[in-house]
């Protein structure tokens, strides 16, 4: 048994597949690809397949790491080739690598957010991002109960840039990601909408990369 890290790009209408959908989808792709999966040896044998960080529904991605356990010694390039021939529309395997970091080490994710333009968009967004105060409501857990928590998205941000392009306003931003602290791009948009007083409508949100605590790339 060996573990490989599959890097997946998710584009176009595949973005409407949820985290659970993706697990089923990958499992079937691996089966179609004729790749020999390692199965657990318990009463109900099942394969091991783990996504490093769930991707919110509606977000595209260039970099979803999925760890899979395989039998045999098929070269990574062959695993990659076979998987790509079995993937549905919108899903592409960009690489298959030996895992270095642990999924728990993910601290940040970098996003590109493309918005429909509105009057004074760039200045208003910049001002809001610079203000250091972006309150938002987030559902969290207190024990087993679901509770609404007040958070400040400004405290969960890294570097950012805002620019105007043809028919859209683009935000590039680094947000906290992972099991300890996590801010989804939609949480940011909610907070920005509230502060600016205008409903920010997105054309496209893409996760561009995952980063460690020291801002180095997660591999």
């Amino acid at each position: 048994m060996r573990c490989v890290r599959v890097l997946l790009a998710k584009r176009g209408r595949a973005k409407y597949l949820s985290h659970l959908d993706m697990q089923r989808c990958m499992m079937r792709a691996v089966r179609r690809a004729g790749i020999d999966l390692w199965y657990t040896e318990g009463f109900n044998p099942h394969p091991y397949l783990a996504f490093a960080l769930p991707l919110p529904l509606g977000v595209e991605s260039e970099c979803e790491p999925i760890d899979i356990r395989l039998e045999g010694d098929m070269p990574n390039s062959e695993v990659c080739k076979r998987l790509n021939s079995a993937m549905p529309e919108g899903l592409e395997i960009t690489d298959v690598i030996e895992p270095v970091n642990k999924p728990g080490d993910i601290a940040f994710a970098r996003y590109d957010i493309e918005l429909y333009p509105f009057e004074g968009a760039v200045d208003k967004i910049k001002a809001a991002l610079e203000s250091g105060n972006l309150p938002a409501e987030k559902t969290g857990k207190a024990g087993r109960k679901k509770v609404i928590k007040q958070v400040n998205v400004a405290e969960m941000m890294g570097y950012w840039a805002v620019e105007e392009k043809n028919d859209s306003v683009n935000i590039g931003i680094v947000l906290a990601a992972g099991s300890r602290k996590n801010a989804s791009p939609f949480l940011l948009l909610d907070a920005l909408s509230a502060v600016i007083g205008e409903k920010l409508e997105y054309k496209k949100v893409t996760r561009k990369g995952l980063l460690l605590e020291n801002y180095l790339k997660f591999v």
Binding site: R13, Y16, L17, C25, M27, A29, R31, R32, P88, E89
Partner: protein, 624 residues
């Protein structure tokens, strides 16, 4: 690709993956290169429709042709419909995203009566008039198929054509004819008159219905060249019929998310309440090699880890042993689970139970249907209490700890004794578990009983029977509850209001079309869903149209009454139904078709052949 309009809506609705298309194995063609565009509509949600085998077979049949492109359409959930209407998005086909109003054929499958209002809603969402007579052009032609068209008279005003029986061949015949008439520039009426000459094609508008003063049907008169009786189509040789080697693999989770292979059509049993047992006759089996090939191809092309065998009664398949041996040759190694639904308790063998348990254990369900032997004789279930208990014993012995039992309530001649016996039978199954010395340690048993109200259906020996009232059914449900003696037994009840409406439409006539349209205009849709079902609006619609629903549901018909479906011929003769009706009322059973041919007459559809009896000569000629 998705339109910008759609992209702006999708983030606002639940499970948007249902509305995007783009699933693995969906068929994309160049629309410039096809003559006929076919929208195959399932009048319920994506999760339900995508689980249906018929849509997979028929889309694949059409797409096997170079000159036609078949795409899928499902009913949007309430939130999506609202957004579509708000933003002017017309109902579109999933593969191309094109509005279906521009297609040549819009085909609905009618699987259950509670989906009727969805048909109207989908036509309206497509931007089309719901009534056939208001759609003047040849295209789009709105057609229907599926089990309900054996009496879809309540829907007769909305469809241009109904296809009776199996669709694999008649769909092609219809497309061929439409191609000719489209090229010729024929009118809709010219085309319909020609189409009515194809076997299995029923054009409702070519039949005029006369009524008696007591509201029963007086006569059904064909007009012009339309045939007196429309005979359903069947496929003669199932080993040669088209079966898909690929299924579309949905991204979002659906109800039955697995590969499915058909093993035979028809049923040898003759349970008197069961419409499917009669309308799919005569019995035709597939060879084990064919089924094994189908299963293997599907698992390879989809990546599914479960394959299910589809028929009305899996354990009646004569090649089951051979098939399971062939399947287990590769499924164990490939970690593919085999699901065998529709098992009968009387031929559930120990070997079978062990086979099933060899890959992964799923639930086990038996359908005694009734509590006492007398009641089971009336419905011709031909299964004894000892057989049920013995099947439970074998299941528990093989390690199962939960068993599901299906029953019906409100059957003809039913007494309170029969109802109390349902609870008693469930208790006896619980007792079997504790009597078993090999029962798994530290585990309890769970027997769940599901009790559905009996709904009399056309083309069954009970088609003349009255349905129980809601009050009767609720009292009977309470009687079961008060008769339950163990916490190991759980009870699932069905919505009696829904069964009532189902009963009205199952044996309804054309006049109910107005009621369906009125109710739909009041906002009735997705009636099969408890959260959407609105009985009050339906009852108001009956009264608005001056129609008494009890007339259809409650009334016992006399055997010589003209039934609204008498002009439709599903092979089984009325004489056979009358014989079975009389036997039911004398508590007499009829042996299954392999024991003795009962002369139902359905073999006439297959040139006298019937797989229930290998030598066709030994099968009696239809007696009716």
């Amino acid at each position: 690709m998705l339109s910008e309009k759609l992209e702006r809506i999708l983030p606002l609705v639940q499970k948007p993956g249902r509305y995007t298309g783009g699933e693995l194995n969906s068929v994309i063609k160049n629309k410039e290169n096809v003559a006929i565009r076919y929208a195959f509509c399932f009048p319920d949600t994506y999760e339900i429709g995508m689980s249906h085998l018929g849509i997979k077979i028929l889309c694949s049949v059409v797409n096997a042709r170079e000159d036609a492109w078949c795409e899928r359409v499902f009913a949007p959930w309430v939130d999506m419909e609202e957004k579509m209407r708000e933003n002017g998005v017309l109902l579109y086909a999933l593969e191309s995203g094109d509005p279906i109003k521009d297609f040549d054929i819009i085909g609905f499958t009618l699987q259950y009566e509670m989906s009727y209002s969805n048909v109207l809603n989908m036509l309206d969402l497509a931007g089309l008039p719901v009534r056939s007579k208001d759609r003047k052009d040849l295209a789009p032609l709105v057609i229907a198929g599926g089990p309900c068209v054996c009496n879809a008279e309540p829907m007769a005003n909305f469809f241009d054509i109904m296809l009776l029986g199996e669709g694999e061949e008649v769909t092609n015949d219809l497309i061929d004819l439409l191609k000719i008439h489209k090229a010729r520039g024929s009118t809709k009426q010219e085309f319909l008159l020609e189409a009515a000459k194809i076997k299995g094609v029923y054009v409702p508008s070519l039949y005029e219905i006369e009524y008696n003063e007591d509201n029963t049907v007086k006569a059904i008169n064909p007009m012009g060249t339309a045939p007196q009786r429309v005979e359903k189509r069947i496929v003669s040789d199932l080993d040669r019929v088209h079966f898909p080697d690929k299924f579309i693999v949905p991204g979002v989770e659906i109800v039955h998310d697995r590969a499915v292979a058909e093993i035979f059509r028809g049923c040898i049993r003759g349970c008197r309440f069961c419409q499917a047992g009669y309308i799919y006759r005569p019995i035709r089996e597939k060879q084990a090699d064919t089924v094994n090939r189908d299963c293997k191809a599907l698992c390879e092309s989809t990546g599914y880890d479960e394959v299910s065998l589809c028929s009305l009664s899996t354990s009646d398949y004569t090649h089951l042993e051979e098939l399971l041996n062939k399947l287990l040759d590769w499924t164990v190694e490939d970690k593919v689970n085999i699901a065998l639904p529709s098992l009968r308790a009387d031929n559930f063998s120990k070997e079978l139970s062990q086979r099933l348990a060899s890959v992964r254990r799923s639930g086990l369900t038996f359908a005694p249907e009734a509590g006492t032997q007398r009641m089971r004789d009336v419905i011709n279930k031909n299964i004894t209490e000892e057989e049920i208990l013995s099947a439970a014993r074998k299941a528990f012995d093989a390690g199962w700890t939960s068993v599901k039992l299906y029953f019906m309530l409100g059957l003809p001649t039913e007494t309170d004794e029969d109802i109390v016996a349902i609870a008693q039978l469930a208790q006896k199954v619980v007792d079997e578990f504790y009597r078993n010395p090999n029962k798994p340690k530290g585990k309890g048993v769970n027997v769940s009983i599901s009790v559905a109200p009996f709904v009399p259906k056309p083309f069954t020996p009970f088609q003349w029977e009255g349905q129980n009232t809601k009050e009767e059914l609720l009292r009977k449900q309470q009687l079961i509850i008060s008769s339950l003696t163990s916490r190991k037994i759980s009870l699932t009840r069905h919505n009696t209001d829904m069964s009532f409406l189902e009963g009205v439409f199952a044996r309804g006539d054309r006049r109910l079309g107005d009621v369906i349209e009125t109710a739909w205009k009041k906002g009735c849709k997705l009636d099969g869903w408890d959260e959407c079902f609105r009985l009050d609006d339906w009852m108001q619609s009956f009264s608005d149209c001056g129609i008494d629903p009890e007339f259809y549901a409650r009334r016992e018909r006399s055997l010589d009454e003209v039934l609204p479906w008498d002009h439709l011929d599903y092979g089984v003769s009325k004489a056979h139904f009358i014989r079975e009706y009389n036997k039911a009322h004398n508590n007499e059973t009829t042996p299954h078709c392999r024991e003795k041919c009962a002369g139902c007459g359905a073999n006439k559809l297959n040139g006298g052949k019937c797989d229930a009896l290998r030598e066709s000569a030994s099968c009696q000629k239809g007696q009716g």
